[in-house]
């Protein structure tokens, strides 16, 4: 089966004064139709930049992004706009991702109008109702402005906007991190149901590892602009191979006070992006480091069961 999204050696540079930093430094990943893929890593490791490059909200500096086999980095403005209905995004903070001067109706109707998906007023109305009900909102909320909605309702509107064009692929940029705990689980269940109902592929960005495990079939772990480990979610969570992933997973809280677990506390900060080490980016903080890790970049190698890791161990 052909992947719906294929990222090949993606790099993205930002200019900071005279210096150039590589926020994303050679990421490759593939997402198959109907598959939920998690992208985890600490703040600033390039998760969001990766997603924005995949959707061409940012232009990649190097590398290719293929959508259903077609190189979308070559698309011109018009072609890109027409194709946008097939790949959408749900943003982190619903308080800023909805236009404060648009009613819910206007926010949701816009993508349909832009892509000519509702020819008549009746068709438009049906589509709006269907989508709003699909994300568990009452149709009367269509007439509300964002400031008249709760945080959870706003995020449902954000999700409705993303799915109303029946996309093949949706990038979810920490869609639950600005919501409180009780709403989080509702939104996650909603996302899970929508995915199976509509057969969409997800790129789910999060540092909530339990959420990733709940939703995703495969996981990519990023550190310092690179993918350090990838594989099926169960493999990664039960047998993490990269020392960074091990540290990350040990930070998941266990809801049982009697159980104790060895926490791996990382020391120090990730290296500055202004001054990248030549070898493994995790060298300074790694408990299993060897002398050779310092100057050599570990290759991404297959350790079986579809599990890949960028570590010499």
């Amino acid at each position: 089966m052909e992947p719906v999204i294929q990222v090949e050696n993606l790099r993205r540079a930002f200019r900071e004064g005279r210096a150039v930093i590589w926020a994303v430094n050679g990421v490759s990943l593939d997402i198959y139709p109907g598959e939920a893929v998690g992208l985890v890593g600490e703040s600033g490791c390039g998760k969001t930049t990766t997603a924005r490059c995949v959707l061409r909200l940012l232009e990649p500096t190097e590398g290719r992004v293929l959508f259903q086999g077609a190189d979308m980095t070559r698309w011109g403005g018009k072609k890109l706009r027409e194709q946008r209905r097939h790949f959408q995004m749900v943003f982190q903070d619903p308080n800023t991702s909805l236009n404060p001067r648009f009613t819910v109706r206007r926010t949701l109707a816009e993508p349909l109008r832009l892509h000519g998906l509702a020819q008549t007023g009746r068709e438009m109305e049906e589509r709006l109702h269907e989508t709003v009900l699909r994300v568990n909102l009452e149709p009367r909320l269509l007439e509300r402005y964002p400031h008249q909605l709760s945080g959870g309702q706003k995020q449902r509107v954000g999700i409705a906007r993303a799915i109303i064009t029946n996309p093949r692929f949706v990038a979810l940029d920490e869609p639950t991190s600005s919501l409180d705990m009780s709403i989080r689980i509702q939104i996650l269940s909603l996302l899970q149901r929508l995915q199976s109902e509509m057969n969409m592929a997800y790129l789910f960005i999060s540092h909530d590892l339990s959420a990733v495990r709940f939703l995703c079939a495969r996981v990519f772990v990023m550190y310092l602009g690179r993918v350090v480990e990838a594989g099926p979610a169960d493999e990664i969570f039960d047998h993490p191979a990269h020392p960074y992933t091990q540290a990350l997973l040990s930070a998941i809280p266990i809801p049982d006070p009697k159980l104790r677990r060895q926490r791996i506390i990382l020391e120090g900060e990730p290296p500055s992006l202004f001054n990248l080490p030549p070898g493994c980016g995790f060298y300074d903080r790694c408990k299993a480091r060897k002398a050779s890790c310092r100057d050599n970049l570990p290759p991404f190698r297959d350790i079986g069961n579809g599990h890949f890791v960028a570590c010499f161990e």
């Binding site: 706009r81 943003f91 236009n99 404060p100 001067r101 832009l114 906007r161 509702q186």
Partner: protein
Amino acid sequence: MVSETIAKPKGAQPSVRDSRAWRTWYILRSHPSMIVGILVLAVILFVTVAGPSLVPYKPLKPDPEARLLPPSAAHPMGTDAFGRDILSRVVNGARLDLFIAFSVVAIALGIGVAVGMFSGYYGGKVDDVVMRITDVILAFPSFILALAITAILGNSIPNVIIAIAIAYIPYFVRLTRGEVLSAKERDYTEAARCVGNPNWRIIYLHLLPNCLTPALVQATLCLGWAILDASGLAFLGLGIRPPTPEWGVLVSEGSRDIIGGQWWTSFFPGAVIVLTAFAFNLIGDSLRDVTSPTEAVQ
């Protein structure tokens, strides 16, 4: 598997308090200076529209019998050196002064906001050039600049309007640009692009309504300044010439009589200029307070 619960709509039930009228009243009640400004402006607008048919004298008709009469029941603001009734001239001048003020602001607002949106949205070299041009214009006091431009363009009402408008454009450019710079970084702009909006739709449908408020407040303040500037130019003999009844012209003509003790010929037109500018400024200042983020009624 976690069962999914249906989110019930909560909070924010529409009520009387959400209505536009109620919110307007709420804002007004806590800003008495805005009420004063609006009342004064209402009187001025009424006089502008209905006044010329209410006053008993023609603004341009001299009366040799009634030269330089002090204020009285027959001539509430007195008469000038040609025996013309000052009140009639002031009332007839309102139309011209308000026309100039509104034209100036319409032009400056339209061009300034359009340039500011464009410059802020696209950034880069275009933005650099636009900003340097506004720097140059802002380096001169707006009145001096308007003076120079009128002197170059020549004396006519359209030229006065153009000159003052040019001097005001940079304020609108800068305000709008600043708003766009922050609004375009917000997620809703990115979301608008993500659903397939072309740039022009993002600028005019998504960003403009969210960036217009400061410019509208500025526009109200500029209405007051424009009246001061237009009558200032006329006072100096630029732009509008006597015997046209215009407030600046009236002050200028009357200033000759002050030495002779006939204070009323320039006092009353001057007072009306001040009052009008004051009314616009009261409204503008209150609008600025009301629309500031700390007092957002949303």
